[in-house]
Each structure stands twice: as structure tokens, then as C-alpha cells.
Symmetry: C2
Subunit: 352 residues, 2 copies
């Protein structure tokens, strides 16, 4: 798992380089006919990547996006009216039964379909109208890491193809940002020690980093068997905050930008409850509390002259998940568990 | 809380009776111009009701539905292209800042808007093009119960207005089904005792009862401070199942119909892991395991001749949440907590 975490900068570079041409073709296609809505279908880590894709596409391309309720197709056998829609399925293996069913159904009912997968010869790559290949190289660890960030990269390309005013040069800098996050490995290892006996936790994100809260929590569940909840900064205030008492462990993703003030407000509220908070941020967020784990780079996006005013946290999700992945791997080690072989899981899970 | 739980049959009857006329008008409107997609915006318990509405509308009306990512409007200030869409906001008080912002934004950008609220003179009721009033009577307990089932009733009316072939006579039977579920109160109280020292749990649902898994978990978090996760039957298999070991408490919603076989499969898998499962079902599910908590009524829906073949679990969500609400209230009592006054919460929460 740690090896695959460390491979991420080069994997990201490979994805971008190889998939840019295909994204250009997509962009030309969508210029002629822009999808009226987007539906994303996935499970597990890929579903968390889809959650990111959902925020990204809405925020930078302005098209309404929905995460598919897959049982509607697979169990209830209902066909939705999909004319004018774009449906994208995300699956590391490309062999998820349910997401493939959703994609085929959508195709039959008028949607243009995209498959985002790490396996070029998979069913998903074959049945989709267009495949975006993650090209992370074989992922051996059951806990997905490099395919997750590769899927995030695929979503940047998809959002750009959908008309977002992203600068490809900014995407080219993402591998370097991932490398900056990897520098935290020793600090993360030192911090993980303290959590040896943690058995539950809450992870909080918001906006573009909401998906990372799901992914951090999933990594804690898979590798360290933590009962890890995940909420948006707003949702935890609507009820779940009641369960937080003294010493309750809470992990917060606190990037620069529009979510920074509300995340700081929540961190202060949690301090008031004497919860045990760990805030992940970078050098550019002046609102992060003291003691935060800081990625040693300034990640706030500053748009160039003549470009759309895109949000400051636009390029934080890839570097921000990396310390979280390392934390889960290190914590598993501290707990004497093998993060590469979570109990009861296999690499490909088939559900309906 | 218990008093309000017991009021549900009469509250549901009141909602249906008073709102049917308005739903007829909506139905006539949508017959002329059917929405191309639906977006639902809410927080907390109302968001769980929206999750139900999402499955219901897709399954019985065939229109793609999305749960709004509210920060896109409130924090990132992005306007989505909403022409031809229907946007519904759900809020007990009608004073949720964020859902009201989403609704106003959507209205400005071409959507038809609906407000589902318990307060007729609220901001939400005033700004929406059409209001569906829950009419549950004043809800005093912080943990919402009767407004949740009232919101589910509102969604049946909305789905019908959107062209679903529901039989209003079936909706008229829902208060009686709720009354049947209330008969479990003593059995629920007896079962709650066993969970005195439970501090974490997982609740599992699927399809039309997926929302109830969120709501059951939320009630456990709010009233009994349980770290309660919630997953679909498929999603738990994609990673989180790793955290389930001997004695891990899992609650399953197992209605009759298309989800029954996969829920039974999961219950058997959990038994193999020696987890502590509590299965909620009714008399009509032959696939439920022995020892399940059974609502004393046959809830499987059987369509009348000449009507669309609607799913067997169509009318289970309202009666199924009631034993879960009672369980949370009884467990709080067993733990010596006051379910009406969860720590750190107030009745109206304002977030952005």
C-alpha cells in the first residue's frame, strides 16, 4: 500500500499525458452538444472519486450532476429517461457488475456513456462510448490509493472536456503537488502512533474535499477497522455532533478557499467540546488552527489573468488525500495489522 | 419523542387529506410539462426524507433525481443550468438558510420549485412556487420523527403528481400500516435493553429503505450518542465490511420484494462473521431470518389488476422507520439519557 501511495506522482503524470488527446476529442464533441445533466455510477473508492467528480463538474462546468442510485437499474429494473444526459461509470477493475448494468441501461436509453477504469481490456472499457484509462499500473493492495487519485485526474479531464475553463498547465503541476504531500510521510508516521487504541472516528470535509472525507474514512475502515463516520461540515451540525464528547477523534480536511472559514468555525466548536482534532491543511490556509498537519506547499489556486475565477481549493483534493492514505497505512502498522490484506475483502467485489 | 412517534398515524392522515387537492393541481401542471430531472435539497432528517424521495421518484416516475450538493450554491456561488428541472427543498422549520438559498437560486435559473415543510408561514413555504405542508403539528422533540414520516408522505404525493401510477387508496392505508408498526413498542423496549453498552453500530438498507438506514443511524447518533454508520447492502461489501468482527452490532431493514434476497445474503454473511444482527421485517418477507423483529402486518404491495407492476416494498418505508424511532427512544432511556434534549443540538440548525 505504501509503495503504491508513493507511486502517485508518476502515475498521475502518465494518466494526464496519455489521456489528454482523448479528452480533446471529447471536448470537441461536447462543444457541439453539451450534456444537460451528468449521472455518475460507482462503488467503494471509485464512488468516492465520483463524489469528487460530482462537485468538480457542478462547480467548474455548471452542469447538474447526480450519483446513480444503482439499485434502481439493477434490482428494481427501472429505466430512467436519459436523453441528453451523460453517464459515466467508474471502476478500478472495470468489472463491477452493477455499474456496468447502469452504463448499459443508460446507453440503451439515450445517454452518451464514459467509462473511467484502470483496466484497458475490461468490460467497462469495452462497453462505454468513450473510455478514460487511469493507467496507474497494476494495483495490488486491496485498499485502493493510486487508482483513486488517477480517477480524480480523469475527472479533471472530463470537467475540462465538458467546457470548464481549466488550464492544462495547472493539471501538469498536480504530480508535483502530490510529491509535496508525500514529504509528510515521517510526520504522519509520528502522529499515527497516538491513535493506537482509537476504535471510532469522524472525518469531515466540505465541497471539493467532501469526497476525500469519504475516502479517508474508507481507508481507516479497510486498513485499521476503525468505525469511521464521514460528514460534510454542515451535515455534522444537523444531528451527529451530539455524539462528539471529550476525546472524540475528528479528522478535518481544511484547504484554503471558500470552505476555510466554516471549517475553522467547526474546528473551534470541536475544541470547545474537547474533542481530539487533527486538521489537515497546507501552507496557504491562514485560517487553519495551530498544530495542523501542513502539506509543505502553498496549494491555493490563483487564476491567471483573463481566466475564469476558479475556486482556491480547486487543486487541493489530490495532494490532500495522500497524507490521509499514509495515515491509514501507518496506523494499520501501529495496530499490528497488514493494510494490504484487510480481513474479508478481495480486490474485485461484485454486487448488484 | 415517544408521544410524537405515537401521533404518526393521525398526522399522516391529516397530511394526505389536506394536501391531496394541491397534488392534483401539480399533477395537471406536470402533465403539460414533465420535468426532465429533479433536484432535492435538505439537511439532517429532512435530507434522509429526500434520499427516500430520490429512490421513489426514480423508481415509480422514471425521472432522474439528484440530491443537491448545497455548497455549490451557498459557498462556491455557482449557478447550475436548471431549465426544465424541478427543485424541491425539504425542511421541517422552513428556515434552513442553505436549502432556501438553493431553492431561490434554482428559481432564478429556470427551475420550478417546491417546498416541503411543516411550517405554513415559513420562508420556504413563501418562496417556493408550490408548498406541500406536512401538517404534523408542532414538533417539540429535537429528534424529528413525525415530520420525517410526513415528509415521506409528501414525497408519495409528489411522485404521484409527477405521473407515477400510484393508487391514492393505497396512500390512505399508510396511517393503518403506521399503527401496526406502533404495536411493536413493548417488544422494541424489551430488545433495547441488550444494547445498554453499545457505543457503535452499522445500519443497512437498500433501495426504498436505504433512506431509513440513514434515519435510523441518525436517531441513534442524536438520542443515544452511538457512532452509527449507515450503508447500502452493496456499499458495505465494498470495503467497510472489514471492520465487522465478532459481536459487532448491525441493524438491517429487510422488507419484502427485490431487496429481500440480497439482504438475506448479507444477514447470512454477517452471521458467519458472528456479528450481532437485528433484522427488522414484516409478516410478508419469507426470506427474513428467524428471530427478526416483525411488524405484525403483511406489508408487501400487490398491484391491482390493470395497474402498473409497482415494487412489493413500495409502502414499507413509513411503517419500517417507526420501530427504529422507538428503538432509539427506548435505548436512550435504557442508557439514562433524555432523547428530547440531545446535547449540543437545537431544533433549528442554520448552516451554509
Amino acid at each position: 500500500m505504501l509503495e503504491e501511495i508513493r507511486e502517485q506522482p508518476e502515475a498521475l503524470e502518465r494518466t494526464l499525458k496519455a489521456e489528454l488527446r482523448g479528452a480533446e476529442k471529447l471536448r470537441a464533441r461536447f462543444e457541439k452538444e453539451r450534456p444537460r445533466f451528468v449521472v455518475l455510477a460507482a462503488r467503494g473508492t471509485s464512488d468516492n472519486a465520483a463524489q469528487f467528480g460530482r462537485y468538480l463538474i457542478e462547480i467548474v462546468a455548471g452542469i447538474p450532476v447526480s450519483l446513480a442510485a444503482q439499485s434502481v437499474s439493477t434490482l428494481y429494473k427501472v429505466s430512467l429517461r436519459m436523453e441528453g444526459g451523460l453517464v459515466a461509470a467508474v471502476s478500478q477493475s472495470g468489472e463491477s457488475t452493477d455499474t456496468n448494468v447502469v452504463l448499459e441501461e443508460a446507453k440503451k436509453h439515450g445517454a452518451f456513456t464514459i467509462g473511467i477504469t484502470n483496466e484497458s481490456s475490461s468490460t467497462l472499457a469495452r462497453i462505454a462510448d468513450h473510455a478514460i484509462l487511469v493507467r496507474a499500473g497494476k494495483e495490488k493492495s486491496v485498499a485502493a490509493t493510486k487508482t483513486y487519485t488517477g480517477q480524480l485526474m480523469a475527472f479533471y479531464l472530463l470537467a475540462w472536456a465538458l467546457g470548464a475553463d481549466l488550464d492544462i498547465d495547472d493539471l501538469r503541476r498536480l504530480p508535483a503537488l502530490a510529491a509535496a504531500a508525500l514529504k509528510l510521510e515521517d510526520e504522519v508516521a509520528a502522529r499515527a502512533e497516538r491513535y493506537r487504541f482509537m476504535d471510532h472516528a469522524v472525518v469531515i470535509g466540505r465541497g471539493l474535499n467532501y469526497a476525500n472525507a469519504f475516502e479517508w474514512a474508507l481507508k481507516l475502515m479497510e486498513t485499521s477497522y476503525i468505525v469511521a463516520e464521514r460528514f460534510s461540515q454542515a451535515d455534522i451540525l444537523h444531528g451527529p455532533i451530539a455524539m462528539v464528547d471529550q476525546s472524540f477523534p475528528v479528522f478535518l480536511l481544511a484547504p484554503p478557499g471558500v470552505t476555510a472559514p466554516v471549517m475553522r468555525e467547526l474546528a473551534d466548536k470541536l475544541d470547545g467540546l474537547k474533542a481530539e482534532t487533527l486538521v489537515l491543511t497546507d501552507r496557504s490556509n491562514n485560517l487553519a488552527p495551530k498544530g495542523a498537519l501542513r502539506i509543505p506547499a502553498s496549494l491555493a489556486h490563483k487564476p491567471k489573468r483573463g481566466r475564469a475565477a476558479l475556486p482556491a481549493d480547486l487543486y487541493t483534493p489530490i495532494p490532500y488525500i495522500i497524507p490521509a492514505q499514509m495515515f491509514a497505512a501507518k496506523l494499520a502498522a501501529v495496530k499490528g495489522l497488514n493494510p494490504d490484506q484487510p480481513r474479508g475483502l478481495s480486490k474485485v467485489t461484485r454486487t448488484l
